[in-house]
Assembly symmetry: C2
Homo-oligomer: 201 residues x 2
Amino acid sequence: MDTPPPPRADPDAAPAKKRRRDPEASRAAILEAARAAFAERGYAKTTVRDVARRAGVTHGLVLRHFTSKEQLFLAAVPSPRTLMAEVAGDPKTLPVRIARSYVRRMAESGGSDPFVAMLRAVASEEESAKRLFTAMQQDSLEMYREVIPGPELEERVASVGAYLTGVTFSRYIFGHGPLAEMSDEQLVRHLVPNLRGILLA
Amino acid sequence: MDTPPPPRADPDAAPAKKRRRDPEASRAAILEAARAAFAERGYAKTTVRDVARRAGVTHGLVLRHFTSKEQLFLAAVPSPRTLMAEVAGDPKTLPVRIARSYVRRMAESGGSDPFVAMLRAVASEEESAKRLFTAMQQDSLEMYREVIPGPELEERVASVGAYLTGVTFSRYIFGHGPLAEMSDEQLVRHLVPNLRGILLA
DNA sequence: CGTTCTAATGACCAATCGGATACTAAAAAA
DNA sequence: TTTTTTAGTATCCGATTGGTCATTAGAACG
């Protein structure tokens, strides 16, 4: 009698959600919250308490799991794996594949893509983000190296990266102007010839 | 005896500098300090006290002159006048002129160009910077409108802007990679064909 | 000279930050 | 069960932030 059954598996949350004691679920929730927060507000303006509130925990727990804000960032925005996967294949159709994969990826994440978070962090002069960014560039360069012909490979790849960076900035961060108002399909059609121009002499 | 001569005109400062009472000089010094600070560290990470220290005044004075940090930013980074002046002329040589004027402008400012400050501010989700950015885009669009042939003018101009934004990011903000290591002349040579490809069908 | 005006200062403020730590309580081990 | 462990919370902390305001002091003018 003295101990009326304490609320067992939280009934209102989705089945097998989190809530009760579950460090892995908390960790995952914090990571997802951090990804969204960093992508939306940038590194400097995102506070540990923001992330905690989104994840439904206290900010103490966030720091308990990830020690510091910087390490949280590094854990949340790990490998943008290269913005441009699916590179292998016929060089002729490479620009189309780049454009498609880029647009799809950004659309799927709904604007909370790690790449956006990294751009914001780099822009606010965050050293750790710069290191990640460097690694990312290196990755993508090596993926291209075996596919693209012609001289000045590094420069071309860098230019493609710069172009897509600028497009990302205009469309997903700034959010105004023609590039932001195009549909995904329009954007692909617009990008392809420009990517081709940069990549293939 | 009671009042030994208090330190008169500060002897260590450069001759005919400022120091003494001079509101316009103070204002100018604060503005220049703000430009440099915002360009170097972005909006979010720049503190009013940073600016004040650079300008050699107290942070109280900064706020006395400009009321708030946001208004200081708006006053310090006013009209990037369009990143690409000197547009008028033969469309055939337009890409060359854009590239040259862009590179020269960035080189002259030594990395403290208002455009960089704006990019950093926009990236850190600063509303006022977004408004400025919009105005800037509008300006440049109208400058191009009378010079460039062909359809989809807005989209092309936006793409040029995006491309240069990305280049700026890579070269002047991120500061690593091929685009950052090129000399100014190399960069111009690299940019021209890509700009031509984007602008002229 | 003294009076007036105001540029400039410096102390202060509430809010907020990242982080540390003492504590509570749930679960695992005994 | 009791003991041990540890996920999670609740506070507290010093530092720093943007901003306010009373005070000080340099110049202009009588």
